[in-house]
């Protein structure tokens, strides 16, 4: 009995002593920090993705408290989180258009034939540093999924059927990690658009038309038809490549119909009436990767959800 009491007493005293030591140490080495940093950090999504340009959520909070919000924006939390952060800090910010990663290549396995076979570690960076890629298009997607590996949100998956990565709009937070990972700079952050609708050129091939076409059936050949038909001057053609400025585009979709190779994609639009030039748009679009048209069979659900939400 004595032993038990002695043991308990000894342990209690020991615990007390250690607690005192810990307390003293904690007091002595206490770091004075603005309590608002913790407040802001608590509001953050905690993904630590670096999409804001800071090392992580804590770094974001520190910067927000010390230097003010300024141009800081958390792409993962979006406007909702930013609003809360601004409130907590007593600042005001403007709402930002939500963005999503968009793949500017539509050269799937059928349209862009492989002319060589790569053998080595499955990494786009390695392939890109080795040579132009398995196909004859020097600008197109290599398909080894560096973007998939870079995405912390599981929003990008390379589809083995098309050989191209597909962006899950719901999961994509617009952090931009994939845009940095792609050695061919094929992923671009574009505004999500009203009801998730977007029109963009899914190609980055800067070769002359004939060369580009030879390498890939759905390459942008720089013909300029889209630029001519665009009523809003949103399309520019430079070095044989068209680009749609998403801040100017008003989603009239005239360019999509006009494009002879089907390189311009429209996303999340309701199906067109069949009468409108089916030859140009539909066959091209039907073969394309996922988020091309809502009626595209396999991924129907995924695409439609954001549409419903925004409505």
């Amino acid at each position: 009995m004595n032993i038990i009491i002695f043991t308990i007493a000894a342990l209690a005293v020991l615990g007390l002593l250690l607690a005192i030591v810990l307390y003293i140490v904690a007091q002595k080495f206490k770091v004075e920090e603005d309590p608002r940093i913790d407040t802001v950090e608590a509001l953050m999504p905690g993904a630590n993705c670096g999409g804001c340009g800071k090392a992580g959520c804590r770094a974001f909070a520190e910067a927000a408290v010390k230097e003010g919000l300024g141009s800081l924006f958390c792409p993962v939390g979006g406007n909702a989180v930013m609003q809360k952060v601004a409130e907590a800090l007593g600042q005001t910010i403007e709402a930002k258009e939500p963005q999503v990663a968009v793949l500017r290549c539509n050269g799937n396995c059928e349209k862009r034939k492989k002319t060589t076979r790569y053998e080595g570690v499955a990494s786009c960076a390695t392939v890109a540093s080795l040579y132009g890629g398995e196909t004859d298009c020097l600008f197109g997607c290599l398909g080894y999924g560096d973007c998939e590996a870079a995405c912390q949100f599981g929003a990008i998956k390379v589809n083995p059927k098309t050989g191209l990565p597909e962006v899950d709009e719901e999961k994509c937070t617009g952090c931009g990690a994939c845009t940095k990972a792609c050695p061919k700079l094929l992923l671009e952050l574009r505004n999500k658009g009203p009801k998730g609708r977007r029109v963009y050129v899914a190609c980055r091939n800067k070769e002359k038309g004939a060369v580009a076409r030879k390498a890939c059936l759905s390459a942008c050949i720089g013909c300029g038809k889209c630029a001519k038909v665009c009523p809003f001057e949103a399309i520019t053609v430079e070095t044989n490549l068209a680009y749609i400025d998403f801040t100017k585009c008003r989603m009239c979709r005239k360019c999509v119909v006009e494009c002879p190779t089907g390189a311009i994609h429209e996303v999340n639009f309701p199906p067109r009436p069949a009468a409108v030039k089916p030859a140009a748009a539909t066959p091209a679009a039907a073969a394309q990767a996922k988020p091309v048209q809502p009626q595209a069979q396999p991924e129907e659900k995924k695409v439609e959800i954001p549409v419903q939400k925004t409505e």
Binding site: T115, T116, Y118, G120, L130
Partner: protein, 342 residues
Amino acid sequence: MNTLIVSPSPHVHGKESTRKIMGDVIIALLPAVLVSIWFFGLSAIHLVCVSVLACVVFEYFIQKVLMKKRSTVGDLSAVVTGVLLALNLPVCSPWWLILIGAFVAIGIAKMSFGGLGQNLFNPALVARVVLLVSFPVLMTGTAFHAPETGYLFGNSDLASAALDATSGATPLGFVKEQLAKGVSMQEIMATPGLSYTQLLFANMGGSAGELSAVALILGFIYLLCRRVIKPWISLSILATVFVFAGILYLGDSSKYVDPVFHVLNGGLLLGAFFMATDYVTSPMTAKGQVIFGIGIGVITVLIRTFGAYPEGVSFAILIMNATVPLLNKFQPKRFAEEAQKK
């Protein structure tokens, strides 16, 4: 013309492969296996077969059924583990003991760490130690230690000797036993069967692999010639044991076993040649390997001389296995040292 393959250099590969290396290790273990089959016949064959088969089946089952991935039994590493396990068990081990050993080796020591190359401890040794601790009677044969009934080779009836020997104590165990009884070292060493020749060619105590030092040395030389292993680990273990035991022996030759006896004892050779040199659980660089070997040597002698167990190699190797990640911090000598520019 074929579709051209493009890949980064180098475009050719040497002749080495994991399977080839494992095959070489199996060949190197053959002399020891054959010696035990020579002396124990069917029971040794039974031991080796059950052990190898169990290891391979466990590995295949775990990879294929539990982990749902491609099985790598083709690389022969499970076979090596199986043979090593067999050599670490007494010849007449019951089948269930072997199965438990194989399960511990493959299931716990190897696959749960992530399979080949990922394990921290030598699978066969983990199994041996688990069995040693769990079934000390079966594993060390302390139930039986009467030399006069023919526990050593050279006595009248080989068959009965073999039968007895399977449960007989190892020479070291016997020595320890006698020392505890207060018998002096000189008297113990005078026991027939504890001669060096006996140890070199065949002594009948202990596990299947410890029978013959010559067989083990042959295997070791084969591995060296095939450049499968470098000699640093083995030699530093043997040298350390010899020196350390030698110092003790010089200090008091009536209490301590002489160093040659220490070194020639099968358990040490098996450990030094085949267990400690396991790639996965030994350091990469020569410097690390020498320290690793010295550590094993010191711990072995400490356990053998002052510990409760007569045999300490297994524990020593496992303890040093744990230090390997640390020993791997030793970087090899670089070709290009930092420039002295300032």
